[in-house]
Amino acid sequence: MTQEEIKASVLDIISEIVPDEDTSHLDPEVRIRDQINLDSMDFLDIIMELRKRYQVDVPEEDYPKLASLNSCAAYLDPWLKDK
């Protein structure tokens, strides 16, 4: 997966969890939670969907690294680049 594809899959996960939020205008540099309404349960669901779909286990101390779309792509790249 390229970085762009990783961002697209994270966006796909987000829109499954919060279908009523418009995710098409998300700024990839800015914290996702500052742009759309995501509570902590929603955020944990993103982590669990990553595990379910791509077998990526994100340890709790790394959660802050998933704050923006760009930081997600950078963090997930080692796991997803060969998928």
Binding site: E16, I17, V18, P19, D20, E21, N37, D39, M41, D42, L44, D45, M48, R51, K52
Partner: protein, 460 residues
Amino acid sequence: MDYDVIIIGAGLSGLAAGIRLAHFGQRVCILEKHGRVGGLNSYYPIQGRITDVGLHAMTNYVPKSVKSAPLVKILRQLRLSYDDLQLCPQATSRIIFPEKELQFTNDFHFLVQEIADKFPGQVDRFMKLTRSLVSYDDFSLGEKSVSTRTVLNSFLSDPLLIEMLLCPVLFYGSPKEDDIDFSQFSILFRSIFTEGFARPRQGMQQILHLLVEKYRESGGELRTRCQAHHLGIQKDLVAEVHLADGEILGAKTFISSIGLPETRALCSHWEPLAQEPEPGELSFIESILFTDVFPSQALGFEPTILFYSDSDRFCYKKPDGPVDLSSGVVCCPNNYQLTEPMPEGIIRLTHLANFSLWNGFDASEYRMAKDRWAQESVKKAERFIPCLSQHIKAQDTFTPKTVLKFTGRCNGAVYGSPDKVSDGRTPIKNLFICGTDQGWVGIVGTLLSGITIANKYVLY
């Protein structure tokens, strides 16, 4: 191991827990002793109609534009869409006491204005109370028990206002006589007054159908007409569940939604608790009446739901006689803001009732008492709906005994045991409680209970 998780009871909380677990790849099986799902909040056929067992309202209603609310939380967690529920909001509901009447809608400001008009000296105090409730962390596990009456007395100085606010809250969720834990009050106050009432267009059937479909499509297994006979305990773990037909199923984790005393009764061994769970004492009788006219047009009955008490001190207790007619709830599903009208008029009449008296009747006494109290209840309701009795074309009544028969709840106590296990834990390490006896009530509350227990003890 046959399964990762076995859930006992396919009511709202069991189904919600099941959806979460199945969605994230757990092997889940839900055991339901009846042929139909729904538990305390189900549906059944009467003379060719599908009718809700006891649904008055889905509380916690918020419009689609609201982004942060318990309803939004459960929809997201269960991957359901708001539009699938086809919610029809209420019009106006009333609380009628001898001295005063309060109306409320799904707009909280309307209630504030009502209180300002009818209890002018109390409105600032009421706002202060409301602010303290909003800051209360509703949905966190493990709340301590605090008396709501004590808290209300510290905010409000007019006892009548306290009684009038307690009336709908206790009727819609208190397992305790004359009071309720403040954590539960906080949740119910928000669900009834701050948010509000709505009805899924097709009632419980619609919600339950969505949940079962979602559960199955996520890979969960549902066994109906399948009764858990007992849980085999080894040391401090459930090893397996023995079914009534003799089959034995194993799992790593067990979640029970059937109530705390009821779950305890299934366990072959259970280390004594500091305080043994007491079954609840509060049960209800409810008549559902189908009328040949629409109550708002022909009978002048406009409220969606009406709560009344004949006494200024609302008495929420197990009555001395079979039924307490001095208070009650009248619900008219036609008076929701429906997208298309229902085919006939419907009225539900609900009163507190005494389980042990109903349970003690022999078959013919029971039938006679049921007919008599259904009639008395209609007569009582004619104060609000004149000539109601002349327009009834079909009716059915459930009693505390009916509740026991169909839900297995001790004493027919629809809000369960007054002893809640708010963190869902039991002395058995891999056995958890969700639903009514975890403490979050109402459709949205109980769904959130199943979700939270599944998240906390299995998924997170």
